[in-house]
Structure formats: structure tokens, C-alpha cells
Amino acid sequence: MPASLARTLDSTRFPVIERRLDNGLQILLLPRRSVPAVNYTTFFRVGSRNEEPGRTGLAHFLEHMMFNGAEKYGPKEFDRTLESVGGTSNAYTSHDLTVYFEDFPSEALETVIDLESDRMRALALAEDLFESEREVVKEERRYRVDNDLFGTMEEALASLMFSTHPYRWPVIGWMEDLDASTRQDALRFYRTFYAPNNAVLVVVGDVDPERALGAIEAAYRDIPPGPPVPAVEAVEPEPTAERRTRVDFPSHAPALLLGYRALPATHPDTPVVEIIETALGAGDSSILMERLVYETELASDVHVSHDLRIDGSVFMVFADLPPGGDVSRVEGAIYEELSRIADEGLPAEALSRARSIVRASLLQSLAANGGIAHALGEHQVVFGDWREAFRVIDRYQAITPEDVRRVARELFREANRSVVTVVPEAA
């Protein structure tokens, strides 16, 4: 590894200040003065995996309601207050986490602390706004899933890959459940999962650390801790055969989505899967781009992704075919490449290329306050230690061709595979 990189990616170079309040709230703070701005990110350990059947989509619906008023800042006041101090905010919900973040000029820190602690302490969940927000979320679902090819295919894939675990339903939830959810459901969910002991707060940027910590502690310390969060106990049984479905979608060209059940995010072999993902799909000179797009023209584009999840990650390969393209030939070519890795591992050159890319992407993500806050927070929440964000670099370095072979052999088994296709009717 280049020496300049080894020095930069050493966790001791990041003077992160760690605190834990008596109510359980964990705080990570990293002063950084590259621009006069601050990123303030709150991670809650809750996502769609914590939902119940019949009330799917509640975690994401609640994320929307977090912008619709609390005790001190009423309806519409969150964003108005934030924008009037020059800040911006957004949030997202995944299968495992719900994350809220603000970017703002240094002077606005105390306002943001006030806003965020207010909605962690006492969310209003006003009935009328609950109803109008329900319609907003349904529009989001129509946009992202019902009228979107990939969204429709991904939803079908999850239903194939999981039969028992909450990962079987989409984060945005089923339309019927969005209609059925009540304010009471959202309130119960909020009380269960939005307590300080279920959250990690990360602040990165142009702040005076002692003043910032003092203000954070003063604002959050009287929020009572919640009861222990109920564990997700569903265990997904091992698949015994390949699963396959053809989705009906009015499409002009065929498309293929493959899913493999991968390892839990914290599994020691997860970095090996990340290397395989990068070798297969990152960049125009990756294995699948060269083979499918440039050499054979079987596909016009290929995306490989590895969605890290607490209870078992999902490895996906998505291929867009040209009109009239042959899905089975694309499948065959992909399986050949995956089998080659399972049989032979990765050639030294491909392994070294993948390592260089994952290291460089980590470094790129550390160029902005928000990127740093995400790297620290996600690793704190999922691994219990933000330093894991940097330790993974050593793991990548230690991966051998035999590790790649061993992990790929297990991952790319036929019985571990689910396949979703879209084929236009005329074809």
C-alpha cells in the first residue's frame, strides 16, 4: 500500500472525541476546519427489519413524520428554522438503520442541537399531518417501485430471497400497509426505537469541541432512556434450491437481477465479499463490464452491489439488456465468471486492482464532513466501534486468493441464488 495512504487511513490520525451520556446516547465528535461548516448526523438502530407484518413501511413513514413537528418546534418549523440559519437536512431509512443529517454553517450548531434534541424528546405526530404525509409516502412508493423497473424487480427479489425474515418486505412498505398504519402505530414505534440509548450522534466539522459537547449534553441529558429494544429473532432458513420469477412490467428491453444471500455485515469474511464485488463490477475495466458490455455486447450495462446488512447482506448483479437481448445468455456468461472465481479465486492483478479501488473510495469518502460522519457512525452502530472503518483497510490487505476462492464458493452456490427477469411481451 502506498505510504501516504497508510498514514492517512490510520485511525489514530482522526482525533475523535467519544462520550456516552447517562441516558445511553453515544456521541462521536471530530473537529475539522476545512470549510466553515458542520455535519450533524443521528443514527437510530431501527429499520424495516424491526417492523411487523401488516405494518410494513412504518420505520420509513416515521422518518417522514420526524420533519412534521415536535414539542418546541411545531409543524413546518423544523426545516424553516434550519433553512433560516443556512442549513439543510435530509434522512433515509434502510433495512437496518434510520439516519438523519444536517449540514450547516458553524454558527448554527446550537440551533441544530435544539432542533434534533426536540424531536428525539417529544415528537408531535399530529393527526392531520399524519394523513397528508401518508399520501406523500404513497407517491414515493409509486415513484420508486410501482412505476420503476428496477424498483419492481428489487421488490420481487426480496420476496424470493427471504421467506421468514423481515428483509422479505420493501423498506418503503406494501401499499396496503401504508393505508392501514395509524398514528398510534407510529407513536408506539417512536417510543420503542427513538430513545437516546438506541442512537449514535456524530458531529464532524468546524466546531469548538468542548463548547459543542457542553451544548449537546445540556440539550439531550434529560431525555429518558427507553426500555431495551426488542431483538429481531426471525431466522431465515437456508435455501435449498434456486428461486426464480418473471416480473410483469411494461418494458422495452429485457433485464436481469440476480441475488445471493451474503454474510452478516460484521462477519470477518465480509471484506472478502467487498473485494469480489469490486473486482466484478466497479469501473469499466471490471470483470463483468469487460465481458458483458465491451467484449460480447450481451448487456448494455451491469451493476454489482453488496448491500451490507446486520442479519445477512445481499449481493446483487443487475444487467440491462439491449432490446431483443437474450437473458439466458447473459445469465450463462455471469455464472461462468462467478464460477471461475469460485474455482480459481481472483488473479493477482484483479485482486490488487480491487484493493486499490476500495482503498481509494474510502479515502474519497473522507474528503467531506458528511462522508466522514457516515463512515464513523455506521461502523459505530453496526460494529460498536468507529475504528472499524479504518481497520478494514488491513483486512483488505491480508486477503489471499484462497480467501476469495473459499468465500466465492460458498456465496455463488446455485441453491443460494434468486433470479428475477423482465422480458418484454413482444420478445
Binding site: D79, E139, Y143, S361
Partner: protein, 443 residues
């Protein structure tokens, strides 16, 4: 407010006319290169829309000394990334890499822009890929709406009418000779510049640039863009898509606005208050109060040959008319009455507050430097940006609203169910020329 500054820059021009800017930022061992050239899609000959886009993509598929595939292989092998793309006015090549790979990165950029191969097989393959992508984009209603925005407003032979990647029909007509000719006449050192930002030394950048770009020659060219005709009556381009449960809505109108106009900052502030910010009037009326959509936005597009102002949203089939009515009513209200002082104050603080966030990474700083060069914005543009935003008055913002927020006949693009679209236009009482465009001709 702590001042926002660009890093100190060293600027020089090579003998062949290529302008180079180097800016040092040492926090991380990274470098970002941005090559900008005057070869956007507005130079595509009529009937061959998509040429600039295809030409830029092919820069990365082989040069006289690198076989197809070797360009990306070389930079990705060391963890770097190279991209090439065109927009309406320009084409770009950018590289992100570790700073120690600056010599390789610079040499590759010089190689791809000065001696691309346009290999016959690669050229055919890229053309087929672009046609396939256009076909696939018909399945994405938001993409269809976006691509048809200026096409709905402008006459078809205007250089800005076609979307940058072209139409399936026009891309099919592009041959290798067109690409070679386009590159030869459009990409030249005198009409290009290079920005290098990161953990680099300006003297080294100069030495490397002289070595790599020194021999590159090419004919310069002048810009030649016809002004665009104003519409005299609103127009609706309606694109029917099977089985849609939601309709994509775009509206576009002319906005004669330049970066250095006195009304530039008032226009930016008014846009945030109107539809650009999350607490803007349109977000509030369409999303928050009525739950009609998930997403609402307005934006200016300031092109070399003139500017546009556009609105973008979507809603379920049943509420297309309601969304359009609110949009028209709010546009009229903003034009006639402007904004409340607190709306303008919030918009100003929002714009000024966010400004430094666009200058965090090397890539962003390189883009900001490129912007100051392209629009001749002057040394004080970045440091004084926030001050100029904060100086905008409600009166000035009202003037910008009156001029730009769909004051003139507009074009509307609706993608979704045919009946929902028809009903929506009627419900909103829009009197317009209606063009029903089959989805197959909309990409």
C-alpha cells in the same frame, strides 16, 4: 460568517493555447483533474443529435497508443477513476486519483483528448449501446420527461432542442466519419482548459502539462448559437405510457439570465423561495399541505445561448389537474406579489449557508474554478458570493419572479396515462397547443 476562499491558484497558458490552472489542497493525498472543452451537444449537426455525447464516451475507448479498454484499465489498476461526458455547451474528461498518480492521470487525459482512436468496432458498439440505453430509458417516465423538456419548447432544429444523448433515430445515423470529424473540428487547445486540484505542486503540474499536451494542435472554433424563438402560445407535449399509476410533470419557460447580470443573485434567491428550497412555497403547497407528491423542484439552466426556468414533480393520475392548478396559481402569485420579507430572508440564509458545502472536495473545487473561467466571473466571485446573496432585497426578488417564473408562454411535458393527462389539462383550464407524442418517438 467565516470567509470562504478558493485555494491559491497558479495559472498558465501553454504555447498551443491550452490554459491550465493548478490549485493546491494538501489535506488528503488525492488529486482531481478536470478537462473542459467547447464541444457540447449544441455543436451536433441537425439530424445527428447524440454526436457530442458519443464522441466523449469514445474518448475512453482507445487512443493511438492505448488499445480499447487500456485507458480505463490503466487508471483503475491504481484505484483511480476516469469519466467523460458532454452537456449542451461542453464536453468534459475528469480523473480522480491518488496524488502520487498525477503523472499517469495527466498523461492519460492528454492522450485521450489529443489522439482518440475511434476504433471502427468500438464506434459501432458504442452506438449500439447508446441506442439500447435510449430504448431502455423509455421505461423510466422521469427520464422521458426530462429528455423532452427543451424539445417541447424549442423548434426541432434548434441546437438545444434534442437531448444530449440524442434520439434513437438520430444516433442510428451517426457513423465513424462523423465522430472523427466532430473531434477534429471541435476539440482544440485554444477552446479547452484543464484544472488540477489536490495535493500537487504547481511547478510539477506545469512541467507535466508541457510534456503531455505540448505537441497537441488543433483548429480553434467560434461559438455560433442562434437565439431561440419565444413561444406565442403554451404547448403541452403529452406522452402516453402504458400502465402508469403516476404522471411525471415538467414545465419550462425562457429565462434570459446570465451569471454576471445584476438580477442573477435576486433570481437565485427567488428560486429558493419559490420552489428550490425545502420550505419553498411550491413544496409547501404541493407536498406538505396537499400531499400531492413526494418531490417538487424548480431550477434555472443557464446555457450559453440563453436560459431556461423549469419545474419538476409527479403525482398520481387522479390529481394531475390539482397539481397543475396549484403550480399556475402560485406562479402567478409570485409574479404579481413577490414574497414576504421573511421568505426572502430564509432563502438568503439558506443559499449563503449552503455555499461552503459545495466547496468541500477537490472535485467540487475544480468545478468551481472551471465555473469562474467559463463565465469569466472574476477573482472575487467565490469569496463574495455569500455577501452578494445576503444583499438581495425582497423588491429585487419580486422583480426576478415577475420576469422568470413562467411569465411567458411555457411548454409542459406530461408523461403517464393518456386519459389522466387529458383530464389534468382540462381540470387546470390550460389553453394550449397539445402534441400527443408516442412513447416510441420520445427517446
Amino acid at each position: 460568517m467565516r470567509p470562504v476562499e478558493l485555494p491559491p491558484r497558479v495559472e498558465f497558458t501553454l504555447e498551443n493555447g491550452l490554459r491550465v490552472v493548478a490549485a493546491q489542497r494538501r489535506e488528503l493525498p488525492l488529486v482531481s483533474l478536470l478537462f473542459v472543452t467547447d464541444a457540447g451537444s449544441s455543436r451536433d449537426p441537425f439530424g445527428k443529435a447524440g454526436l457530442a455525447s458519443l464522441a466523449s464516451e469514445l474518448l475512453l475507448r482507445g487512443t493511438k497508443k492505448r488499445a480499447p479498454g487500456e485507458v480505463t484499465r490503466a487508471i483503475e489498476a491504481v484505484g483511480g477513476r476516469i469519466d467523460a461526458a458532454a452537456d449542451r455547451d461542453r464536453a468534459y474528461v475528469s480523473v480522480q486519483a491518488l496524488a502520487e498518480h498525477l503523472p499517469l492521470a495527466l498523461e492519460i487525459v492528454a492522450d485521450v483528448v489529443s489522439s482518440p482512436l475511434f476504433d471502427p468496432r468500438e464506434t459501432e458498439a458504442a452506438r449500439r449501446r447508446q441506442v439500447a440505453e435510449l430504448e431502455q430509458s423509455k421505461d423510466d417516465p422521469a427520464a422521458v420527461a426530462r429528455r423532452n423538456l427543451l424539445a417541447a419548447y424549442l423548434p426541432p432544429d434548434h441546437p438545444y432542442a434534442a437531448p444530449v444523448p440524442g434520439w434513437t433515430s438520430s444516433v442510428s445515423r451517426i457513423g465513424r466519419a462523423d465522430l472523427v470529424d466532430f473531434h477534429r473540428t471541435s476539440v482544440a487547445p485554444q477552446t479547452s482548459f484543464l484544472v488540477v486540484v489536490g495535493d500537487v505542486d504547481a511547478d510539477e503540474v506545469r512541467r507535466l502539462a508541457e510534456n503531455c499536451f505540448g505537441d497537441w494542435k488543433g483548429p480553434g472554433h467560434g461559438g455560433h448559437l442562434p437565439p431561440f424563438p419565444r413561444r406565442t402560445r403554451p404547448k403541452v407535449r403529452a406522452i402516453h405510457k402504458e400502465e402508469s399509476t403516476q404522471t411525471q410533470v415538467r414545465m419550462v419557460g425562457p429565462a434570459e439570465l446570465r451569471w454576471k447580470d445584476p438580477i442573477f443573485f435576486p433570481a437565485m434567491v427567488a428560486n429558493v423561495a419559490f420552489g428550490g428550497g425545502f420550505t419553498s412555497r411550491l413544496v409547501n403547497e404541493i407536498r406538505v399541505n396537499r400531499g400531492l407528491t413526494y418531490s417538487v423542484g424548480t431550477a434555472f439552466a443557464l446555457l450559453r445561448g440563453g436560459g431556461f426556468f423549469s419545474f419538476s414533480s409527479f403525482t398520481k393520475n387522479e390529481t394531475v389537474g390539482e397539481l397543475l392548478s396549484v403550480l399556475l396559481q402560485e406562479s402567478r402569485r409570485a409574479r404579481e406579489n413577490g414574497f414576504e420579507p421573511d421568505e426572502i430572508e430564509r432563502a438568503k440564509r439558506y443559499l449563503a449557508g449552503l455555499y461552503p458545502l459545495g466547496l468541500e472536495t477537490n472535485e467540487q473545487v475544480a468545478a468551481a474554478i472551471a465555473e469562474t473561467i467559463l463565465f469569466d466571473l472574476g477573482e472575487d466571485w467565490v469569496p463574495r458570493y455569500r455577501e452578494r446573496v445576503m444583499a438581495v432585497t425582497p423588491m429585487q426578488a419580486a422583480e426576478a419572479a415577475a420576469r422568470f417564473f413562467f411569465a411567458d408562454p411555457f411548454a409542459l411535458v406530461l408523461v403517464g396515462d393518456r386519459d389522466a393527462i387529458r383530464r389534468g389539462i382540462e381540470d387546470a383550464g390550460i389553453d394550449a397547443e397539445i402534441e400527443d407524442l408516442p412513447l416510441d418517438e420520445a427517446a
